[in-house]
């Protein structure tokens, strides 16, 4: 059994989760401070990938990243490299699809934060940076960790947008999800079943980790 799809899935998920972790926190923090109308619009736009079919997200991404589209064409002219059909192209797809999970859980955590703690910190002379990293983040860590792990779990399982943006090339862009589809399509049921088991095992382990984390937080 060639383990490349697993390695590829994991590295895509890790990179996407890291990007989404910081982007989601930043978006949640700054968007909460915007005027109401702008906040409402951005909120819808950033949450949309959660409810759209991944194929629609993939289509929209190709509209920007495709070799003849503006970003893809510019990148080709500058670096002579395509933005699509690379293993790392999947990072674009997965990042967009899992972003809302991180954004919404982080926002919920920030909204339940008691703002008087930040104000008390200011009157005590603590810097805004200190207050963000040493007071706001630790107080919200449970929601933020839960969001990051959920985003990671979803990132491992992303199929639709990934298959459109990165395609399926054995040994290059294959992920666990696209491998399963490919094996099923060519009728290799036994191998497809093994990959299904691998996928279930990993996802279950991640969710188990979430539960353990939550229990320790409460205890």
């Amino acid at each position: 059994m060639d383990w490349y799809p697993l390695l590829n899935s994991l590295r895509i998920a890790v990179i996407s989760a890291v990007i989404v972790f910081f982007a989601g926190i930043a978006a949640a923090y700054y968007i909460a401070r915007l005027p109401r109308l702008l906040k409402g619009i951005l909120d819808v736009v950033l949450t949309l990938p959660l409810v759209l079919p991944p194929t629609v997200v993939g289509y929209l991404l190709l509209c920007a990243l495709g070799p003849r589209r503006f970003l893809g064409a510019w990148f080709w002219e500058t670096f002579q490299t395509r933005l699509t059909m690379q293993w790392w192209s999947a990072v674009f797809a997965v990042t967009v699809v899992v972003f809302p999970l991180m954004y919404r859980t982080a926002r919920g955590a920030f909204e339940s934060f008691d703002e008087t703690l930040a104000q008390a910190g200011k009157t005590l002379g603590l810097s805004n940076t200190y207050i963000f990293w040493r007071i706001r983040m630790p107080c919200c860590r449970q929601g933020i960790i839960a969001g990051a792990v959920l985003a990671f779990a979803r990132a491992i399982g992303e199929y639709g947008a990934t298959s459109m943006v990165a395609g399926y090339t054995p040994g290059r862009t294959a992920t666990v999800a696209t491998e399963v589809y490919q094996l099923w399509r060519i009728g290799d049921d036994a191998l497809a079943f093994r990959w299904v088991m691998v996928n279930i095992a990993i996802s279950a382990a991640v969710l188990l980790a979430v539960n353990l984390l939550e229990r320790r937080q409460r205890g």
Binding site: D114, T116, L117, Q119, A120, T123, L124, G125, L126, I135
Partner: protein, 355 residues
């Protein structure tokens, strides 16, 4: 020396507060929603007034005319929040050390150690706020604020989060703290008892507007306005027509009262405290009432009295006296009562007052 003169508009609510303190404990007394906390937040710098000035010991903290608005970090104003705002993920020691963040590491350690002793927190150093009692939390919050040696202390209803039986001891502790604090203190409360116990002067706030500063004793003996009388615990009040400098017709009660204090021409009402209504007849200010209800207090009896000629819908008079004295009267249905002219308080209406 603290000088505050600020205005702020919040929807339909207008905050318009001005007062000055000089090394004393000043109370901002008013009902909830009158803008007391908002005033403190403006002084601390976590909220921005629309216009005005805030000057602390000659340092301008805020001046809309000159475009000065110091961030809270530079104001050196200690703010005790209603819920104490202790950092829940930090231990007692870490919380206090956060308050001493302006000091060098070595000074900070010394400051934390000494405030642990001052506030009797020995043995609690490694606990987190939620493991502490309400009183201990208050001590940690005070220790944390004072570790930064602020020039001004703002206390926002420090006892509202505590059970009433704990308050007495904590009031004594807070008295010690306030006495040893060198700077000004602004104490926000809606409880006249706390204000009497802890403060020297008081500024009444009603619907966002501040009244001139006065001594606490003045407020209790001769409140200037109806809203001041109400917040100082006066339960009986009536609109008046002024007959002469010492005589008023009480429109709500339908009686004429003599006052010892001169009634200013613009006076709109009089107030009489419940314990100043006394059973029995006297030369002046005597009237016969029907006894409506008797409500037992812990050691007193509260008796509501209907005055015969009173206006439709007027509140009954409230008389408060020791339970033994009431019981000695033998459950009368009608009762003659009187009010000494010294105890009839002429009151200005003020725009904030609706009778």
């Amino acid at each position: 020396m603290l000088l505050v003169d600020i205005k702020k508009k919040l929807g339909a609510f207008h905050l318009d507060v001005s007062f000055e303190t000089g090394g004393e404990v000043l109370a901002l007394l008013g009902p909830s929603g009158c803008g007391k906390s908002m005033t403190l937040r403006c002084i601390a710098g976590v909220e921005r007034p629309d216009s005005g000035r805030i000057v602390l010991n000659g340092r301008v903290l805020f001046d809309s005319g000159k475009g000065i608005d110091l961030p809270p970090q530079q104001r050196r104003v200690g703010y005790l929040f209603q819920n104490y705002a202790l950092f829940p993920h930090m231990t007692v020691v870490q919380n206090i050390a956060a308050g001493a963040c302006r000091l060098s590491a070595r000074e900070r350690q010394a400051a934390v150690e000494s405030s642990i002793r001052t506030f009797r927190l020995e043995g609690l150093e490694r606990l987190r706020p939620r493991q502490l009692s309400g009183g201990q939390q208050q001590r940690v919050a005070l220790a944390r604020i004072l570790a930064g040696s602020p020039e001004l202390l703002l206390l926002d209803e420090p006892f509202s989060a505590l059970d009433s039986y704990l308050r007495w001891q904590l009031e004594l502790e807070l008295l010690d703290t306030l006495e040893s604090f060198p700077g000004d203190v602004v104490y926000v409360s809606h409880d006249r008892d706390e204000v009497c116990h802890l403060c020297a002067s008081v500024c009444v706030l009603a619907e966002g507007r501040s009244e001139p500063k006065e001594s606490v004793r003045q407020l209790m003996e001769a409140p200037r306005t109806l809203s001041a009388a109400l917040i100082s615990g006066c339960r009986n009040y009536s609109r008046i027509s002024r007959l002469d400098e010492h005589t008023v017709r009480c429109e709500d009660w339908g009686v004429t009262l003599h006052t010892a204090a001169p009634v200013p021409p613009e006076a709109a009402a009089v107030g009489v405290r419940a314990h100043h209504i006394v059973p029995g007849e006297a030369a002046e200010n005597t009237f016969v009432c029907a006894v409506e209800r008797v409500i037992p207090g812990p050691f007193t009896a509260v008796v509501t009295l209907a005055v015969p000629g009173s206006r439709e819908g007027a509140l009954p008079l409230r008389m408060e006296l020791e339970r033994e004295k009431w019981e000695a009267l033998g459950r009368p249905e009608k009762l003659a009562v009187h009010v000494a002219p010294e105890q009839v308080m002429p009151l200005l209406g003020g725009e904030a007052c609706r009778i």
